[in-house]
Symmetry: C2
Subunit: 479 residues, 2 copies
């Protein structure tokens, strides 16, 4: 009977071809499928369930900090997109354009939102009048579309799911504080939910968002030592508000222009999750974001009482608040082991006739492969403890990887040599000039990832031009 079921096929070795390994995992773990339109992907139930977990955690934190959800239109009239100059320059080249409604050619073409700053501002111009209307702390869960040339599952979709927060404040100070607060929420979710250590910092002017005064970012290091920008927040000053004619009567009755922010985190971060923790057996999910935290597998399940016992363990663990199921299908234990390893389920519990007899079961950890015999009496406590230990181990491993592969350099040549020989991140001092930043790209093939909030004084001069420098920058090859 088991023979006609799908097989768990081999995936490419991650150390042989990391890109192919990644694509294999996305498909074999049933996270994603390709669609008929290039660059648009199907998020399958297992992939979408990871996003739902992330949504739940982010949405809770957004609401706790006073934000409310809204829904803006998906289409932007071309004239509206053009109202803010830097913004339209950044996004127009990658817009998808609607030119026909039914059989009728439109007078003005509409783009599918690549991001929604223009829509929020257009709405706010209607509803903001007084200081009493501020701050506006809005968020929306939606998908946006950017006409990318090359696409990859999660990392670069033409359409991707995200949340985009947009807020409006009476003062610059308040808006900047919001921008920093939301970045910290992203960092918290990355580290404490996804077990991905982050570098918090500010983007250089070259790398900031189109139309922003400042962009903050969290940067993560993947298994192949490349960087993934995993969440950003932007302070816009009053540029957008002026362009859209938003103003308010302040307490002293003078008319003022408010300050704006936006911040976003997308399904791209799921790509980061895969590339941070995965291994040659497939996906490895940190327990707090795993749609299925525990799978219970009966061994010799045809023997009396085994299936019942497995289902009993499931009920006990459910009551303890865990996400758990038993697989009592007629597939072989070997097939099941491989299947749930591929899917990255953090904890596998095996229970057979002999275990039942001796009042225990076997815990097998996905992260380390370690097995332990556990007394059934302490099932719940041990499961919770093990899941926490798995999270901590995954985080510590990723943090060590980041630290072991981050190097300091005094000169551009030194930086280029490190990148060339070892890969990873390089930290140097930088004078702040665009020309030096461009030179890093040219010579070392790296872009500035960020100017970390936690600065260290590595020297007094720019690694590129030798002029005085007071900023430490992290450089790397980015996805």
């Amino acid at each position: 009977m088991a023979k006609d079921t799908k097989r768990v096929e081999q995936i490419t070795d991650m150390d042989v071809d990391f890109a192919q390994w990644y694509t294999d995992v996305c498909r074999k773990a049933e996270l994603i499928d390709y669609s008929g339109a290039k660059g648009l992907f199907v998020l399958r139930p297992y992939g979408y369930a990871i996003w739902e977990k992330m949504q739940g955690e982010l949405d809770r934190r957004f609401k706790e900090t006073g934000h409310v959800n809204v829904s803006m239109p998906m289409l932007i009239p071309e004239s509206l997109l053009q109202k803010e100059k830097d913004h339209v320059e950044g996004f127009a080249p990658e817009c998808a354009w609607v030119t026909y409604g039914g059989s009728e050619k439109l007078d003005e073409r509409l783009c599918i939102r690549p991001t929604s700053e223009t829509l929020f501002c257009d709405h706010w111009a209607n509803i903001v009048h007084s200081w009493r209307d501020l701050p506006l702390l809005y968020n929306q869960w939606c998908s946006v579309l950017r006409w990318e040339k090359t696409t990859r599952p999660f990392l670069r979709h033409r359409e991707f799911l995200w949340q985009e927060g947009h807020t409006l404040h009476a003062t610059a100070e308040e808006a900047i504080a919001e921008t920093e607060q939301q970045l910290e929420i992203y960092a918290d979710v990355c580290e404490n939910l996804l077990a991905m250590p982050v570098i918090r910092g500010r983007k250089t002017d070259k790398e900031k968002f189109a139309g922003a005064e400042r962009t903050y970012t969290i940067e993560c290091m993947m298994h192949d030592k490349k960087a993934l920008q995993s969440g950003t927040s932007h302070y816009f000053g009053d540029g957008f508000a002026r362009a859209f004619g938003i103003s308010f009567a302040d307490k002293d009755n003078t008319q003022r222009v408010p300050h704006e922010t936006s911040w976003g985190l997308s399904t791209r971060t799921i790509g980061g999750l895969i590339m941070t923790h995965g291994d040659n057996n497939g996906l490895v999910l940190p327990p707090r974001v795993a749609p299925l935290q525990v799978v219970v597998l009966p061994i010799a399940q045809h023997k009396p009482g085994v299936t019942e016992k497995a289902l009993e363990l499931v009920e006990r663990l459910k009551k303890a608040g865990l996400s758990v199921k038993a697989d009592v299908s007629d597939n072989s234990p070997g097939w099941k082991f491989a299947e749930y390893e591929m899917k990255g389920v953090p904890l596998r519990i095996e229970i057979g006739p002999r275990d039942i007899e001796s009042g225990c079961c076997v815990f097998a950890r996905r992260d380390t492969g370690e097995k332990a015999t556990i007394a059934l009496d302490s099932l719940e406590a041990c499961a919770i403890e093990t899941l926490d230990a798995i999270h901590d181990n995954l985080f510590a491993k990723a943090k060590k990887h980041l630290e072991d592969n981050t190097f300091d350099a005094q000169t551009l040549d030194e930086a280029a040599q490190i990148i060339n020989e070892k890969g990873g991140f390089v930290r140097t001092m930088w004078c702040g000039d665009l020309s030096c930043e461009e030179k890093f790209k040219e010579v070392a093939g790296v872009s500035s990832r960020c100017i970390p909030f936690k600065q260290e004084h590595l020297g007094d001069t720019c690694a590129c031009c030798g002029k005085p420098a007071d900023k430490m920058v992290v450089w790397g090859v980015a996805y």
Copy 2:
């Protein structure tokens, strides 16, 4: 100070101009704003919060019945849309077409999904192989786009939010049972969350969904006695599966074609909610769907201890699981009363110095306007009881309205006279012929709303042609 805040303006009398009353409520209760693209609306925080409540209740019920969420692309290649004939005929005239990606003209144009049957089938053709892969019980939360000519807030958007369930089954029986089960979930949510009584039934062939074999519907009666279709489920047979080449190896190893369903409920139902319960003071929200169930208003709040007491009540009610806030702004009590009436908050609690002295507060019900003095000792129990009573009253009132305005007729002429003089729904026997159905439209201006599951034998002959008839149909003017 209070003078510079927005005022609660008058809304049109609902008995003078119901359509204008409706639009006024949508805007003044801050549910919606218009956008720069015709027919695309902004769902403001208060409007979106209603949708979030509905989402939560529906999503929970979907998951309890074994469904999982996914995310499909928003764009459909034209060739894919054309694979099922009836379906493309129904939807192509109202598709929005993307013809450019950036500055590049596309080889094949893409439509923004008007609904996603074609996308689900295209994906399923990739992943369905064996009977073990079935059933597939999928749902997605998203927006879809239909290029409507006339548009109205909630009732007819070019873009609207909805959920669309899509399922695939080994047998017709299973698929039909699913179609019925999901309709029952919609009916349950309408009645028990939204306090909207429904008529459950089956659509005639004329009114069914493009490509479906059967469409089931729940129909509600609005305050103006017109009908609103509030949720539908469709059984497709194996038509789509054949068109998309989906088949599976059954247990006996023969290759079979699976059966498909889909079902959807949209933000349109929020329009129904407004038109079912609203009154001349604005929105009236049933307590279980109200984003804010209770508002506490301090009276003479400058007096010592009043604000503190109001906040204390809020904390107590929060602990009891209610959604509640106090408005301690410097707006006048009169302004606040009008504001929360406009927003349809089910229960207003007033508390002033004299109430505090005598250990009580005042409950004011939004639905009836009744006031009652409540001992603070029994605050939580009374609040919960009152909210339940409000739900029951709103449901009973709407049910009476539906029953009082549903009439039986023996002939088409009689039906036309009733519709003309009284409005509402008319029930007649019907032979099943399309020509008779069209005649109802022509003569009485009504469409068939449904063939109710609960049939009554009103006679032996069709009200139109006089031929033998065994189906009772509900007719009405629909939104």
